[in-house]
Every structure is written in structure tokens, then in C-alpha cells.
């Protein structure tokens, strides 16, 4: 008999749900008509989204074309070719720069291993994942598209759905954890800072003791 009442309690549960508020967010991908709601949910600060290629404060590119990111990429989605800098007109400080840099977003799994591997912190990730494209060519982001602008903010490509303030914090992961996951660097900022933003303090709450 108890089984039977349990059985009907299930019906009560689903019926009660009829009167609860909806959890759906009214997201329309930036294509809403006027007076239609179009809101994004709040994303976590360290979300892995599409990449950017960073610059130094003087406008030089950070990428040195070492191909470590391509080597570590488990999805084989990064294609890099380095070239020698022109001594009179260098693209990056040092000898080499990445003159081809392509990421195929049909393959990328946003694991952030490339960000960890990068010796110059040239590649980091934004929080943007609303960049659905209707064309395979748009899936392959080239160096020109990935590079941040002169103000250090990511470029906003036509098919990407950026909202106010979302182009901040393009280095969320770098600030959140210590380099290479080494706990001795806990709380020590090893990050050189983004152009126009400077170095922000490290996020706390990473260590084992604090987590407990």
C-alpha cells in the first residue's frame, strides 16, 4: 500500500511544478526583435571560451611561434608557424614571432592546455562561447582575428554575440591558478597583465587548506 501512495506522490510532484517559476533564460543570441527579451546567464569568471592572442603594453605581440600550444593540443586544432622577426620592424620582442596562427573551433575542446603550455602567456581564453557560425571558414580563426586590439580587448567578429563587459577578464584562468598548477606559486601573480588592464591581484581560495 505504501508503494501505491509513493506512486501517486510522483504525480503530485509533477503537478506542483506547474506553478513554480521557470528556469529558462530568454536568450535569443542577439537576434531578438525590439521588445523581446534577450538575456545571457551569468558565467563563471574562469569559463573557457574562445581564445585571444595577447600583446605587450607597447603593442608587441606576445606569441613567439614556438608551437608548444600546437604540440600540447589534444584535439590538434591549433596550427602555428613561426618566422624570424625583421630586426628593423619586429612584430614581437626576441627573434621569432608566430606568423601563421590558426585555431579550428570545430575541433577545439576548450581544455586550456594551450594556455598552460604557452611560455609567454600569449594565448588566453575569453568567456565567450556564443560564436556559432554558419560557415566552415568562419570556424577557423586566424591570427588577425585572434589578436587583441590596441586597447587590449578581443575583437568582436560579426557572428559573435558579445555583451557589455564580457570582453574584460580575458585571462581569467591565468589569474585564478598558479603557473603550471604549482602550489608554491599560490597567491603569487606570475601574469604579466593585459594591455590596458595591468596586473590584477591573484584570486584566493585555491589552496587545499582554504578549500577545506
Amino acid at each position: 500500500m505504501a508503494e501505491l501512495t509513493e506512486y501517486f506522490r510522483g504525480f503530485a510532484v509533477t503537478f506542483k511544478k506547474l506553478f513554480e517559476p521557470r528556469v529558462t533564460t530568454d536568450y535569443r543570441g542577439g537576434k531578438a526583435k525590439p521588445n523581446q527579451p534577450d538575456e545571457k546567464r551569468q558565467k563563471v569568471e574562469r569559463l573557457h571560451g574562445r581564445h585571444v592572442l595577447n600583446r605587450y603594453e607597447d603593442g608587441m605581440e606576445k606569441c613567439i611561434g614556438c608551437e608548444l600550444c600546437a604540440g600540447v593540443c589534444p584535439a590538434n586544432c591549433i596550427y602555428v608557424r613561426g618566422a624570424d622577426n625583421d630586426p628593423d620592424n619586429p612584430v614581437s620582442p626576441g627573434e621569432r614571432y608566430g606568423y601563421v596562427y590558426e585555431i579550428n573551433y570545430l575541433r577545439c575542446i576548450h581544455c586550456d592546455l594551450c594556455v598552460e603550455a604557452c611560455p609567454t602567456q600569449a594565448i588566453t581564453e575569453t568567456k565567450l562561447f556564443e560564436f556559432s557560425f554558419t560557415n566552415r571558414d568562419d570556424a577557423i580563426y586566424t591570427r588577425d582575428e585572434l589578436l587583441v586590439g590596441d586597447d587590449g580587448k578581443p575583437q568582436q567578429l560579426p557572428w559573435e554575440d558579445w555583451r557589455e563587459g564580457e570582453d574584460d577578464l580575458t585571462s581569467g584562468w591565468m589569474r585564478a591558478t598558479s603557473p603550471s598548477g604549482d602550489h608554491r606559486y599560490e597567491g603569487v601573480v606570475q601574469w604579466k597583465g593585459e594591455l590596458g588592464y595591468g596586473v590584477r591581484s591573484a584570486e584566493l581560495g585555491q589552496s587545499v587548506e582554504e578549500a577545506q
Binding site: G10, F11, T14, K17, L18, R22, V23, T24, D26
Partner: protein, 420 residues
């Protein structure tokens, strides 16, 4: 009590009568198509409400045109016929499941004032001709429903077989086994209704259930006259006949891809879904007609006008459509052996037993039994059925014990490879 057949055919059958019949057919056809549109939208909206979602909200106001959008999309998809399929059967099957769904609705009375006592109950006047709000009222209406619901199996079975692929075949084998098993319980609970009311005509069934009912408080519906059990059995067996959750093993996605319609695409696929949702509507209409008095509402509420019949009918229909959605939102799918257990070990014996009780009471009424005889009958029958149930459980228990003993023996002898 003999109620006259559709008064439309009383006099000569001429052009105006033919026109009215055609009009009714067209209206029923159009109504069913719109009802399916509405039903799918209703299902998706209510089930998303039950899951704290919004559901379809883009096509039309409140997303009400979502079915139309789906239909247009499906219509323009590529229509594939698999290489290994039996082409004729493959193309025939969707229509075989669609047409019975349409036909069943033809015998359902959907409106009319059934509270008139002058022998014209349920008649309305269209262009000066008295007729029923019902496409056809065959004297064997209930049997017609049973026949059509059995015919619908052919669509599913031939779709699975004609696809020439294993998952559809498995799905259709499941479907036919399930539908045949539950057809028995369905038929027995209908038999209880027929026994109590003594007619097979749908119109007459509604007439018999109309009026003041018992003590003018409880409506004289068959759900009360047959004592609830046939209603519950019919509801469960009917849900199983529809292959509706929790009985949707036919298209169990996790096991069978899509079940019998795996290989179908485009408009043929749409036809299967049209049939499925149309069957829901017709099944709800049949339940309402058989057990809940159809368009003859509770007589003590606003007892006037022919439109009140329409209102009551659709009100009750909506209750059942909501019930189907509720089932879908709440219950997980049955395992196949549970399905068979429920059908064969519970529903069929139960409905058979109830049928016998009703038959006994009916015989007693005809023989003019007093309360003493009735009490003796009920007690005696209760005793006999108790013994039967006990015997059934004893059989099940001993079979189970024997199975366990066999397994134990196998395990100790080491004949089972994973134990040795």
C-alpha cells in the same frame, strides 16, 4: 430501450442529406487535424511547465503554431526509402496507422442536448434537418472501435517489417505483442460497459448515461454504473494501446533508436506522429463517451442548449489529454516483463472477474433477487475470487522458488562459466 438511429435517414435520402453527411465528414476531418496541432502544442507546453521550462514560444503567440512549423519542415525534408525495404509495404504502413485513427473519431458523438426526455435526445437541427452531432452512428459502434484499434497494429507492424532493418522490426514485434496483450483487457472492460448498458451504439450509450443520474446528485455515468474498475482498467489498457508513456516500449529510444519508425523520414514520419497524437484524442474521446457520459454533462449544471453538449465533451476531453501529458511527465518507462506482468497477471484477471460480478448482478436483477440473495452472491463471489487470487499467487511463488532452486543448483555444480 430502443433509441432511434440518426433521424437524418428517417425520410428519403436526397441531395440535402448527402450534403449534411459530407459537411459532417469534412468538419470532423478538419477538426481532427486542428486538434492534433493543438494537442502537440499542448503536450509540449504542459510538459515544459512540469519541467520548469518555457517550451515552444517562437512560432505564433505562445508558440501555438509550433506544430505547423514542424509539419512544414518535415514536409520539405528529403523522403528516403531504404534500399532493403519492401517498398510497397513501407509506403503503405503510415496510411494504415493514420486511417483507423481518423475512422474511430467518426463514431464519437461530440455534442447535442442529451437532457431532453422526449425521445429526441442529442438531436440538433442543421438546415432544417434533425441529425446527431456525430459522423456516423453504426449500431455496432463499440465493436467498430475495437476493430479499428486492432487495425492500427497493422500500420506499426508493417512499418517495422517493411523497413528491412532490425531495430524497426524489434520495435514492431514489441508493438504487436503489447497491443494484442492489452487489447484483451481493453475488450473486457468495454464488455462490462456493454453489459451494463445493453447497447453497442455510441449515441445510445450517451443517451443512457444522460439524465438526472442516481439521486440527482451522482451523474448516471458508466464509470459509476460499472463500479470504477473497468474505467481504471480501460484507462491503463488504453494508454498501453496508444503506446503512450509509460508504455512506450515500442519506440524506446535508448534501446531501439526510434522503434518502428526509425527508417522513416519526411512526410511519412509526420504521418506516424499525426496518427499517434490523433489516437490520443480519439482514445480520450472514447473514454469520455464510454464512461463519462460524453456530451451529456452532469445534468444539474446549466442544462440548456445544444452547445452545452459540445462544452462538456471538450471539457472532459481536455481533462484526459492533460492526464496523458501528466503520465508522460511523471512515469518512467516499464520494463518489458513488467509490461507483460501488468497486462496478463493483473489487468486481464481483474477485468474478467469484474465482468463476472457485473454479469451476476445483472442476472440477479432480471431474476428479481432480493437483498439476501444479492448479499449471498457477493459474498460467495468474493470467496471464490479470493481463492482464485490465492491460487494465482501460490503458483507464481512456487514457480519463482523453483527457478531460484534451479539457478542455485547450476551455480553449485559450477556449470555456469562465470562461477567456475
Amino acid at each position: 430501450m430502443i433509441v432511434a438511429a440518426d433521424p437524418l435517414f428517417d425520410g428519403s435520402f436526397g441531395l440535402p442529406e448527402l450534403g449534411i453527411v459530407l459537411l459532417k465528414v469534412v468538419i470532423a476531418f478538419a477538426f481532427l487535424l486542428f486538434a492534433v496541432m493543438f494537442n502537440i502544442w499542448f503536450l509540449r507546453k504542459v510538459i515544459s511547465d512540469m519541467q520548469n521550462r518555457i517550451g515552444p514560444n517562437l512560432a505564433g503567440p505562445w508558440g501555438i503554431l509550433v506544430t505547423l512549423a514542424d509539419g512544414i519542415k518535415l514536409f520539405f525534408k528529403e523522403d528516403l526509402v531504404p534500399e532493403k525495404s519492401h517498398r510497397f509495404v513501407f509506403k503503405l504502413a503510415p496510411y494504415l496507422s493514420l486511417i483507423p485513427a481518423f475512422l474511430v473519431f467518426a463514431i464519437v458523438p461530440i455534442g447535442g442536448d442529451f437532457n431532453r426526455a422526449d425521445g429526441t435526445a442529442g438531436e440538433v437541427s442543421i438546415f432544417g434537418h434533425d441529425t446527431f452531432l456525430q459522423v456516423a452512428d453504426p449500431p455496432v459502434g463499440v465493436l467498430f472501435f475495437l476493430a479499428m484499434s486492432s487495425l492500427a497494429i497493422y500500420g506499426v507492424m508493417l512499418a517495422g517489417w517493411g523497413s528491412g532493418s532490425k531495430y524497426p522490426l524489434l520495435g514492431s514485434v514489441r508493438a504487436s505483442a503489447q497491443m494484442v496483450s492489452y487489447e484483451a483487457a481493453l475488450g473486457l472492460s468495454i464488455a462490462a460497459v456493454v453489459l451494463v448498458s445493453g447497447t453497442l451504439s455510441m449515441h445510445e450509450l450517451v443517451v443512457l448515461q444522460s439524465g438526472q443520474g442516481f439521486n440527482a446528485v451522482v451523474p448516471g455515468w458508466n464509470i459509476f454504473a460499472t463500479g470504477f474498475v473497468p474505467f481504471v482498467v480501460f484507462l491503463i489498457a488504453g494508454t498501453a494501446e496508444l503506446n503512450h508513456p509509460p508504455f512506450d516500449l515500442v519506440e524506446a529510444e535508448q534501446e531501439l533508436v526510434g522503434g518502428f519508425h526509425t527508417e522513416y523520414s519526411s512526410i511519412r514520419f509526420a504521418l506516424f506522429f499525426l496518427a499517434e497524437f490523433m489516437n490520443q484524442i480519439t482514445m480520450a474521446a472514447i473514454i469520455v463517451t464510454l464512461f463519462l457520459g460524453g456530451p451529456s454533462g452532469p445534468a444539474f449544471f446549466f442544462p440548456a442548449g445544444w452547445w452545452i453538449g459540445l462544452f462538456w465533451f471538450f471539457f472532459k476531453l481536455m481533462l484526459f489529454l492533460f492526464g496523458f501529458v501528466w503520465l508522460r511527465a511523471t512515469l518512467p518507462r516499464f520494463r518489458y516483463d513488467q509490461l507483460m506482468d501488468l497486462g496478463w497477471k493483473l489487468l486481464i484477471p481483474l477485468s474478467l472477474m469484474w465482468f463476472l460480478v457485473l454479469a451476476g448482478i445483472q442476472v440477479g436483477r432480471e431474476l428479481g433477487w432480493g437483498s439476501v440473495e444479492q448479499t449471498i452472491f457477493v459474498l460467495g463471489f468474493g470467496l471464490v475470487s479470493l481463492v482464485c487470487v490465492a491460487l494465482l499467487f501460490l503458483a507464481l511463488r512456487s514457480a519463482r522458488l523453483r527457478r531460484l532452486a534451479d539457478l542455485d543448483q547450476e551455480l553449485t555444480e559450477g556449470s555456469v562459466p562465470w562461477r567456475s
